[in-house]
Subunit: 328 residues, 2 copies
């Protein structure tokens, strides 16, 4: 088995590469390095600098490395940007995937793991989101992820490709400081940035219909998430019929934004900081928490890391990438 | 105003061209003639033989003809084929539209009318399908139409393009014999074909939960449908903010397959023929009937032709295209 990891120089992709290699697998990374970082790819791992939009590069990579399994993480992933530049998101996320699936069908690649998102659910009005909760995405980013699932499933059925669509909930933490998320689009690094600038962390709305009025999310450690990819790929490789899995990857535990901010303040030694509450952002659901039993049943996978682990590891990563913050 | 009609050499597209010209508009047709027919395009109408996947052709056509309004009908539309060849459908229907929207954004084209379908609703479990009925497409064809709506709306919002997504119910009939549907994928020509071959018309399942056990659909005359495009385009061109319309185009009247077959037999002088009832086809909903009041309210459009008109005109069209059937 030979794994092609698209987007393998990204935050999550690099963790998937790490987990697969620790599991003894051979991997090759395809990344266009627009947001991916070359240093995240170990020297021993072949890195093809190219885009999933480039069919020739895909064909050559699949042939040269005898690719049997594709884990597709290459995509644009900022919700706000997707509203501003929807055609860019459709081109990269949908047409990129289309080109990849065409190359896989032509090259006879039998297994596909797709990086999907809880964003496919939109504003779910349920306590626990199951894989059967209706998918009503509310922004182009979420749309492109749902389209991707549809396309992967349909192509899988037509071309005999076993497929796993993994719907990530809120990813945080890092396996090593080097692989940390260096963006500031997720709550943990966003709060780190404010705290290390001496500013109050922001809470976007405290008037939601939740116990403390702030939004509730389900956080998953990126190392656990990466392990779920390994488990999914192994399941697809078991003898048997062509498979079609759709799985939430969350912990099934809701944590409020206020709880998260308090815990970050505690762990980073900023206890007592008073968050600044600003108005709600458009499109933020009150509560998005996974029903996480299907993946446990199907793959035997369980999350091992709690929110404290995520913040502690992410903080080490933040300090690694922001040396000035270590003096604070 | 100058209209670009993609797929204008198709059955519906040619009717849209006809209706726009009768309304005094200037039109240019883009059609790759894979299923479109050159003879359907009047000699006075410029025909660009090309694909919506070809950005250079789109740019040149928009610039040369000063296009202000695009009516986009070019697409693959067979449900069964979409299951067999999903990537082909995604390429043609989704990437074709993406390329067109990119060309429109770049060329500053301000208005867009999109040929969508009741297939976006999937298996609706309601008496009358409103535009707010959840969209849960159940095959790649329906998926590509829903994705198209999403993409058009998002691109419209980001680039200031007023957009109308028209969800066609079951289209039948013809304005003139020459423009008739020459395929046999819809019930009316399908029954014509069987009858003129001396075979019993087929009914796919009579054990549905409907009064006579056969599926119920909402039929719309293609000339009425074409008029709805003119009305939608005119609405988009009214002064005011950027618009975003989503409209069912049906008559709001359910007709069962058995009623339809009986009426076709009567009109074509095959009274007394006994249909052959075969098992259900996968993916056929029991009942799909439009709530048709939103379009009436928004555009002042009303269907003028009933099912009898559809069959009578379609039969004249069938006989025109199948001279041998006139002797029967």
């Amino acid at each position: 088995m030979s794994y092609l990891i698209t987007g393998g120089a990204g935050y999550i992709g690099a963790h998937v590469v790490r987990a697969l290699r620790q599991a003894g697998e051979t991997v090759v990374v395809l990344d266009d390095l627009t947001t991916g970082v070359r240093a995240r790819v170990p020297e021993e791992v072949p890195l093809v600098v190219g885009s999933t939009l480039d069919r020739a590069v895909l064909d050559a990579t699949i042939a040269e490395h005898g690719v049997t399994d594709v884990v597709h993480l290459a995509a644009k992933k900022q919700v706000g940007e997707s509203v501003e530049m929807p055609l860019h998101y459709y081109r990269e996320n949908v047409h990129g995937l289309q080109t990849l699936l065409e190359a896989m069908a032509a090259g006879g690649v039998p297994r596909f793991v797709f990086s999907s998102s809880a964003a496919v659910y939109g504003m779910p009005d349920v306590d626990l989101v199951t894989e059967d909760t209706p998918c009503v995405p509310i922004n182009p980013y979420g749309e492109t992820k749902l389209v991707g699932e549809w396309m992967a499933r349909a192509a899988g059925k037509a071309h005999g490709i076993s497929t796993a669509c993994l719907r990530y909930f809120n990813v945080a933490g890092t396996a090593t400081p080097e692989l940390a998320d260096t963006g500031v689009f997720n709550i943990v690094p966003m709060v780190f940035e404010r705290l290390t600038q001496g500013a109050a962390p922001r809470i976007f709305g405290d008037d939601y219909d939740t116990p403390d009025g702030t939004c509730i999310r389900d956080y998953i450690h990126v190392a656990d998430l990466a392990d779920a990819h390994v488990a999914a790929a192994r399941k697809l490789a078991e003898p048997g019929p062509v498979r079609d899995l759709t799985l939430n990857i969350g912990r099934g535990e809701g944590v409020s934004v206020r709880e998260m901010v308090d815990l970050i303040a505690e762990i980073t030694d900023h206890r007592g900081v008073v968050p600044e509450v600003t108005p709600r952002r458009a499109g933020d659901p009150a509560r998005v928490v996974a029903a996480a039993d299907r993946i446990s049943k199907e793959l035997g996978w369980e999350a091992r890391h709690d929110v404290r682990d995520m913040i502690t590891s992410a903080w080490a990563g933040w300090q690694h990438h922001h040396p000035e913050s270590r003096q604070g």
